[in-house]
């Protein structure tokens, strides 16, 4: 499997690996996986009261492309508003990392992880408001 330089760079030096406190009401957590290859990906965002993503962390157990896709996603998320974050598409990740067709599902996983993290954050916020 020939990985692109960018994939190798992210896989060898992943950005923002780690964990945010998932009980924190300002943290949204997305946990997704691809059963065909046994990958699991967790992506977390910490959102300021102004609705801007201050921090993003991920942990992925999977192939180099899955690690690179989630690493890149966390880089892109920081500093964006939730609305801007929701516009990130897997095709952007494919383009940036030069992913081959067989690895496109890794970028789809990363997009799903972003959406789940945003959804989790919004759910927490509405629970907080209604309590």
């Amino acid at each position: 499997m020939a990985y692109s330089e960018k994939v190798i760079e992210h896989a060898e030096n992943p950005r923002n690996v780690g964990t945010l406190d998932k009980e924190d009401p300002n943290v949204g957590t997305g946990l997704v996986g691809a059963p065909a290859c046994g990958d699991v990906m967790r992506l977390q965002i910490k959102v300021s009261d102004a609705g801007v993503i201050e921090d993003a962390k991920f942990k992925t157990f999977g192939c180099g492309s899955a690690i690179a896709s989630s690493s890149l996603a966390t880089e892109w998320l920081k500093g964006r508003t939730l609305e801007e974050a929701a516009t990130i598409r897997n095709t952007d990740i494919v383009k940036e990392l030069n992913l081959p067709p067989v690895k496109i599902h890794c970028s789809v996983l990363a997009e799903d992880a972003i959406k789940s993290a945003i959804e989790d954050f919004r759910k927490k916020q509405s629970a907080k408001r209604s309590s």
């Binding site: 946990l31 996986g33 059963p35 065909a36 046994g38 699991v40 157990f61 789809v108 799903d112």
Partner: protein
């Protein structure tokens, strides 16, 4: 690929007699061996060779409980693909396991304990698959859906077992 159960002439069940499967593979391989086709017309020779390759593939598929489960589901028109999303419960379990393996990587006793735990989980999924596919009556849609979920879990547990084995080897 032809149905591996048909190709090897064994019953379409999850539990199978390993020794009988190996015997069947040996017998078929002997029958299809190229030495027996030296005098045969080229077309026949090539067909025997193709069939021998298919028999080997089928044997490998049935030997492993995970690919055997896949073959059984395929026979019922079901599969697990890239677009499938596992349950949150499974993902939480797997994430915990993988993080524990990461932390305990350098302590063989810890890795072995995790491996034992996951092997027990694998065993219970295999029991579930046997209950679905080895009954008196063919499985219904609900049973097949349970089998498919079990296969997803088996794939994750296999991946974990491979990683844990690697950690023990290094």
């Amino acid at each position: 690929m032809t149905d591996p159960f048909d190709l090897l002439g064994v019953a379409r069940r999850f539990s199978l007699d390993r020794a009988a499967l190996e015997q069947r593979h040996r017998d078929l391989s002997r029958t299809l061996h190229p030495d027996r086709y030296v005098q045969a017309p080229p077309g026949e020779r090539r067909m025997a060779l193709d069939r021998a390759v298919a028999v080997n593939e089928a044997f490998r598929a049935l030997r492993d409980p995970l690919t055997r489960a896949e073959a059984l589901l395929t026979a019922h028109g079901l599969s697990v693909g890239d677009a499938d999303r596992p349950s949150q419960a499974l993902l939480l379990e797997v994430m915990d396991l993988r993080e524990a393996l990461d932390e305990g990587r350098r302590t063989p006793a810890k890795v072995t304990a995790l491996l034992e735990q996951v092997r027990a989980r694998t065993k219970s999924e295999e029991n579930l698959l046997a209950a679905v596919f080895d009954g008196e009556t063919p499985p219904d849609a609900a049973a097949l859906a349970r089998a498919r979920d079990a296969l997803v879990r088996l794939k994750y547990f296999r991946r974990f077992e491979d990683e844990a084995d690697d950690a023990l080897d290094s």
